[in-house]
Amino acid sequence: MTEDQGAEGDYERGHGDLRIGHGDHSISSDHSAEITRLDETHYPVPDPGHPEHLPRLADVDPGAANRATRQVATFFGLVPLFAIAFGVVYFAVPGDSYFHFGPLRANARNLGLGVSFGLGLLCIGLGAVQWARTLMDDHEMVDYRHGAASAGEDKEYLITELQKTADEAQLTRRKVIGRSLLGALATIFLPMLIGLADLGPWPTKKKRAATIEATIWKEGIRLVHDVTYKPIKAADLEIGQLVNAEPENLKDLEGTAFLQAKAKAAIIIVRMNPNTIKIPDSRKDWQVGGILCYSKICTHVGCPISLWEQQTHHLLCPCHQSTFDLGDSGVVVFGPAARALPQLPITTDADGYLVARSGFTVPTGPSYFERDSRRDFKRGDN
């Protein structure tokens, strides 16, 4: 018989004759004598009381006590030495010296300061704990608890006084004072809330169109390397190659504007064999001989995506591992992203450099409530 069956069986057996509070199953007399607590369980062993106090070695052996004293004093006595060592390291060790220990390498100043200060602190702590454990009186003491509730007399006092003071303040007779005060206190917070309305610009339709829905891409903007800003020739790209790129006009921006523009406009350019990928009819002219360009900003929470699997045409986001199929208009094949990567229509200019045919047709980056996602590419679109 397994224990589960046992429990079940008992339960079934009990089920039949049990009634709440009915006689047959009350505690039998020999047990009721043992009940000391309210919930009527039984306590077969009475509390034997505090165990005998056993002396420690240092309580009975003066040698051990002296030894402990020396240990404690040594711990405390080392502290000034560590403090001095800290000062020496601080002023004497140059910041560019390194300490080598096998394969490990540590900045000597950081190491010296930390080890001297840390050991000094540790010595105070170890000395104090050793003192308490070996030498301080270790007879346990007993405190008695009081219930958490306040004494009944206190409660009664407060209730009567509350009533009395409410009368004294005339609150009970002139209720309008209390009510209007409550109203006043409630509404005075309003100005504080209103004062927060300028925390940021309001994302109205117009504001959104100018900010999170706009990139600096437009027709004719050259695609350039993201570090060197060199324009990219279609002929220079090999099949399987991925290039991180930016719009050429990004370099005109600085500071915050630069970061904000880059956070939306960053792109990747890939060249794939046009015969092994799906190019929907609606996007036939968005690419140049298998060279496709996608937003680099993940549609999940906005990390820049860059892990490229050449053979499968998959692009993996290093933050949350959303995987997009660049051979199928950037649809999601795995992970937490839900929307395809926006594709940038590109062509070549007279010199053979890659340029944008237009800006992005949908907003790049993570989703938001007011985003109209009807024009995003879905698997199976054509």
């Binding site: 008992d10 039998s28 039984h42 077969p44 505090h50 308490a132 820049p304």
Partner: protein
């Protein structure tokens, strides 16, 4: 207790009764100063109730202390860092002493963090200490809360303190997140980018929250100063206030204690604040401080100079938040995206981000917050509890706790699914899929397993009570049987193993005398179902009669072991059989005792005489 000092106006008649005690040289010197202070603020009266206050001793009580002390280390090291850190996103040309980044454009925040790391002596140490202390702070709070949970210390009257603790845990997690977002390096910027995407995806209010938080479009130039204010002013102030309330309540309730001889619900046994706890706790503060300092010296953390300044077009593979954000990160990662974003008209509902971010947080912190009230509802136990429960004696609670830990662990592993994949050479997709399933299945398995382990431990307690402790002495009876001699355990241990309160599983309400409305009966039925879920499988401890009979039997065995033919192996070579007997949810001790204890089987349900009082 700010009682005004009593006016010192002792008449000469009183003076004659007790001659003043001779003071030592230190006290003599301190006397005028303390008198000056006492005359003004009545220090003696303030200190007196606390001075010899008793605190019980147990290693697990140190977890909360670690949290407190690491918070103090955070305050100290944080103040040091503010002397040099510049919370500004203004662009500067780095010209500090770290050559690899010289001439690169970066924010002032990042440049000043580099300055702290390379040019301010001790700056790197303090930065690393601050970061390690933050890791430790949250870890200590979490493990402290586990100790509280598994020992039932959250029960009345400590529910409010439990809620304060949950509040501090939440604040601590966000405080940490904001802290590591400040340096504005590539890693912390990526964290902010995530925060931006997550805020933005909130249904309906997302863009408003984003624009208000960042002061416009990401990244803007306001978010670092704003996070700085929250990180060094608002949240620490909140934490300090909550810590004060937390400790005040500990003092008021007096600390819980583990069960043992002499320890009751009405007393607290331990050492006084002075001198023992002052030395132990004070010393432990220095130990925590010292260990954090050594960590800052010996273990590199967040080497921001390696990552470079934030650049929205770059990210490093293997980016990870600090550990306490791992579970939220994991939920985000293992959430499947397709199908969880609705496009309705011109709106986008991004459940693929909102659900995994908000739901685990709500489940974890919300679940922690309501649990004490849930359990109190189940047990109907309204009494105060000061004796801690042994986790095994509440198998269902313990199992629920381990299930929650397992769930957290699955999410947490998910936060590093890419590293699991690369380190163990397995497919990332497979890891993710396993976790997607494990996050639901593993907690259930953990629940079942833990419950069984607890009941097994309860059974081993029974074994010690009823059969005694194993001595390792093997004896051979004249009949040729081998058995192990058992020793009756001490009365102290017997008490320890039997002192706990046993809540009962309740049978469904069957009385129908029209006293209660249908709704009340339904509510009571729900509660009773919950009590059966909680307590039906738990082992009942033996009754007094069983225990006495068992101990008598043990003595009898000990006496008879060399005797004449009375079988010494009676109760001792059949432990397996006994084990099953114990699993029935009631406390019959085994076949040799059933004759005595047969009447007691009612203890499973029958003792409930409480009426269903609404």
């Amino acid at each position: 207790m700010a009682k005004p000092a009593e006016v010192v106006d002792v008449g000469p008649a009183n003076e004659a009764v007790t001659p003043p005690k001779e003071l030592g040289p230190v006290f003599k010197r301190a006397a005028p100063v303390t008198k000056w202070l006492d005359d003004r603020v009545g220090v003696a009266g303030l200190i007196r109730p606390l001075y010899r206050k008793v605190f019980p001793d147990h290693f697990s009580f140190l977890l909360g202390e670690i949290a407190l002390y690491s918070f103090i280390v955070l305050l100290l090291s944080g103040v040091f860092l503010t002397l040099w850190f510049k919370p500004s996103m203004a662009e500067v040309d780095y010209q500090g002493s770290y050559q690899l980044l010289r001439g690169i454009k970066m924010s002032d925040a990042y440049a000043s963090t580099l300055g702290l790391s390379f040019d301010v002596r001790g700056g790197l140490l303090l930065r690393q200490m601050h970061h390690w202390a933050a890791m430790l702070f949250v870890a200590a709070m979490l493990t402290h809360s586990l100790r509280i949970f598994f020992t039932g210390a959250f029960r009345r009257p400590r529910e409010i303190n439990w809620l304060i603790g949950v509040g501090m845990l939440v604040i601590g997690v966000f405080e940490g997140f904001m802290g590591y977002s400040l340096p504005d390096d590539l890693l912390s910027g990526t964290g902010l980018r995530f925060m931006d995407g997550a805020i933005r995806s909130t249904p309906i209010i997302g863009t408003w929250a984003e624009f208000f938080f960042f002061g416009g479009e990401f990244p803007g130039d306001l978010v670092v100063p704003r996070l700085y204010m929250l990180h060094i002013l608002l949240l620490p102030a909140l934490l300090l206030g909550l810590i004060a309330a937390h400790l005040a309540l500990v003092v008021y309730h007096k600390h819980t204690q583990f069960a043992g001889p002499g320890k009751t619900e009405a007393n607290v046994v331990g050492y006084p604040v002075f001198p023992v706890y002052a030395a132990k706790a004070g010393g432990f503060f220095f130990i925590v401080f010292g260990v954090v300092t050594l960590m800052g010296a010996l273990m590199q953390i967040n080497p921001v100079w390696v990552f470079g300044p934030y650049n929205p077009g770059e990210v490093t593979a293997g980016s990870q938040p600090d550990w306490y954000m791992g579970f939220a990160e994991g939920a985000i990662r293992i959430m499947p995206g397709p199908g969880f974003e609705w496009h309705i008209g011109a709106t986008t509902w991004s459940w693929n981000i909102f659900i995994p971010l908000a739901l685990p947080m709500a489940l974890l912190f919300g679940g922690m917050a309501i649990y004490p009230f849930l359990e109190a509802w189940v047990t109907g136990d309204k009494s105060e509890h000061h004796i801690l429960e042994r986790p095994r004696n509440n198998p269902t609670r313990t199992a629920l706790g381990v299930a929650a830990m397992t769930w957290y662990a699955m999410l947490w592993i998910g936060g590093g699914n890419d590293l699991v994949a690369t380190q163990f050479h397995v497919s990332l997709n497979a890891v993710t899929w396993v976790l997607r399933i494990a996050v639901f299945v593993a907690p259930v398995l953990a629940f079942l397993l833990t419950k069984r382990i607890c009941i097994g431990l309860q059974r081993s307690d029974h074994e010690r009570l009823l059969h005694g402790a194993e001595t390792g002495v093997i004896e051979r009876s004249p009949a040729g049987r081998f058995s192990e001699r058992h020793r009756t355990i001490s009365v102290g241990e017997q008490y320890l193993l039997t002192q706990h309160k046993e809540p009962y599983p309740l049978a469904p309400v069957a009385s129908d005398d029209g006293e209660f409305t249908e709704k009340e009966i339904k509510a009571e039925q729900r509660r009773r179902r919950a009590t059966r879920f909680y307590f039906l499988d738990a082992l009942r401890k033996p009754t007094k009669a069983e225990l006495e009979a068992a101990i008598e039997h043990q003595h009898h065995l000990a006496a008879a072991i060399h005797g004449d033919g009375h079988d010494g192996h009676d109760g001792h070579d059949g432990h397996d059989g006994h084990g099953n007997g114990h699993g029935n949810g009631h406390a019959t001790a085994g076949h040799e005792l059933t004759a005595d204890a047969g009447d007691d089987e009612h203890t499973q349900f029958g003792t409930e005489s409480e009426h269903m009082a609404p």
